[in-house]
Symmetry: C2
Subunit: 320 residues, 2 copies
């Protein structure tokens, strides 16, 4: 027999939010400056400690975000609770925590918003600033060559053949060398691999070939958020949380491409959206798109009641 309620352990609990938006074909994340960080790691996610006054975790998060950025959140979803900052096999870990063996947890959230008015000293950044190799819309990013070369070197430097094979397998699996190609959802696995290989500033790398660093473990949280969002748009109509009330199919496609980092076949994309019943026509068109005027569409909320898994199953294709 044991007690139903855990006894006191009194760890520190923080709340952090990866607040994502998509404006002008570019996926964005809301960042704030963070004091007391090493050179080049002064950017971070809005975050703050859980306080007794917070009625719930999520309400506490919203409070912190509003206080720090002025942004009010719509769609919010819990991502993961990070607990052990020094767990990385590489040892290094992120900034030490001088609280004598006390745990420092951080409950990370994903939030999707429409508006993009940077308030206070917060700023919207393209999320490919932090993960440049994740953007394949213009083809395989050139920086990937240098990156994978370093990864291969790291694999070669493994202490034993067993470990060398394991590392090689992971590289192939996450960066797509093996039979499988690129899987856009494995954002976190790629970041963790780069971390373990010591190729990110957070793990002691001297340069930021693998992207701009962030404070503490915030880049890990952001990677988790991107991976989750990239997966989720396939079976839930969450993209529409990022879209304005009316939009063209072309705009919708460019947002999806921006999020997933890959290009899609235009005609098939519209067919998919149409047959899923995700949108409906308005009687307006817009000529702002460049060529023939496009019809403005709106999200059909009813689809939530109709289909079991409404989303945009992205194909693997790439086309124009």
């Amino acid at each position: 027999m044991r007690e139903a309620e855990p006894r006191a352990a009194a760890p520190l609990v923080g709340l952090a939010a990866a607040i994502l938006a998509a404006t002008l074909d570019e996926p964005r994340v809301l960042t704030v400056p963070v004091a007391g960080q090493p050179e080049g790691r002064g950017e971070g996610l809005p975050a703050g400690p859980l306080e007794p006054a917070h009625p719930t975790l999520e309400r506490g998060l919203r409070a912190w975000v509003e206080r720090q950025t002025g942004q009010s959140l719509g769609y919010v979803e819990q991502l993961y609770t990070f607990g052990d900052r020094n767990r990385r096999p590489g040892g290094e870990g992120a900034g030490g925590k001088g609280n004598g063996g006390q745990h420092a947890l951080s409950v990370a959230y994903l939030a999707l918003v429409r508006e993009a008015r940077p308030a206070a000293d917060s700023a919207w950044q393209s999320w490919y600033r932090y993960f440049p190799y994740e953007d394949r819309r213009a083809g395989r990013p050139p920086s990937l060559d240098a990156l994978t070369a370093r990864l291969e070197a790291w694999a070669e430097a493994a202490p034993n053949p067993e470990e060398r094979r394991r590392r090689g397998d992971r590289i192939g699996l996450t960066f797509g060398a093996a039979g499988s190609g690129w899987n856009e959802e494995r954002v976190l696995e790629r970041y963790e691999l780069l971390f373990e290989a010591g190729l990110v500033p957070e793990a002691g790398a001297p340069d930021s070939l693998a992207g701009q660093a962030m404070a503490v473990d915030h880049r890990r949280m952001l990677a988790t958020a991107l991976g989750r969002l990239r997966g989720k748009i396939k079976y839930r109509p969450v993209v529409f949380e990022l879209m304005p009330p009316v939009f063209t199919l072309g705009q919708l496609q460019r947002v999806v491409e921006a999020l997933s980092g890959i290009l899609l076949h235009k005609q098939n994309f519209r067919r998919l959206v149409a047959q899923q019943g995700l949108v409906e026509e308005t009687d307006a068109v817009t000529a702002e798109t460049g060529g023939r005027p496009a019809r403005l569409m709106r999200f059909r909320r009813e689809v939530l009641l109709e289909r079991p898994a409404p989303g945009l199953r992205l194909p693997s294709s790439r086309a124009g």
Copy 2:
């Protein structure tokens, strides 16, 4: 500017595990007795507070589970961090926490194991003991009629037409009245709906038509675990964590059916498993299955390196 590290908030942090297995065609969960609970809620999941001595959250969890049940864990995955036990709109909530405004978090995990030897005072229970309406292998469970009748009554009793419609929509969406049929992944949504409708003992219901209750919010955790597992088997080969080293395709199918709660078309199931390259033949057969002897198969680990999303996309069908 703000501090990188959250200031002290000192909430209580607990760890809990939904440890699942599948033996003899029945999906199981490992439970322990919990003291100090109301009548009928003395069953719970292995759990304990996070302690400073725990190197990581997951290690802390493993330690508690071994101490309480003797079971050592293989596959472990974080599920969700529950923070606010009294958040339910219904007010009631689960057992009060007498710690003066202090938060009590609980980080819940999903674990998959093979062996099923109940140690100490822990016990393996069919998980349909807690969610009888989730088992549709023998067709639509009769108890569902009574349950949905009560749900409908609850919807009718809504304070206003707006809310009534909302409740009706949710019932249709989760229990499958609308165009969409039954979605086996919505375990948590169904439980939460029943909770809000006051139909589970945790929310004050006098009977357990909606299944056996559990201590504090453990049934919510279990529901989260089942939903996650049911979803995950479709795109990751996690079922094999539950299977013995060699097995027949029939056994594999029955385990998948037990987990998902629905029956599958046998020939199509084998075709799927085969063409996904998930298993390979051994040169042994077994005659223990009743009819013609079946070939024993084993999981092909290499598939993890080959396919992007190896899993068992369950069809919606039901057949023999």
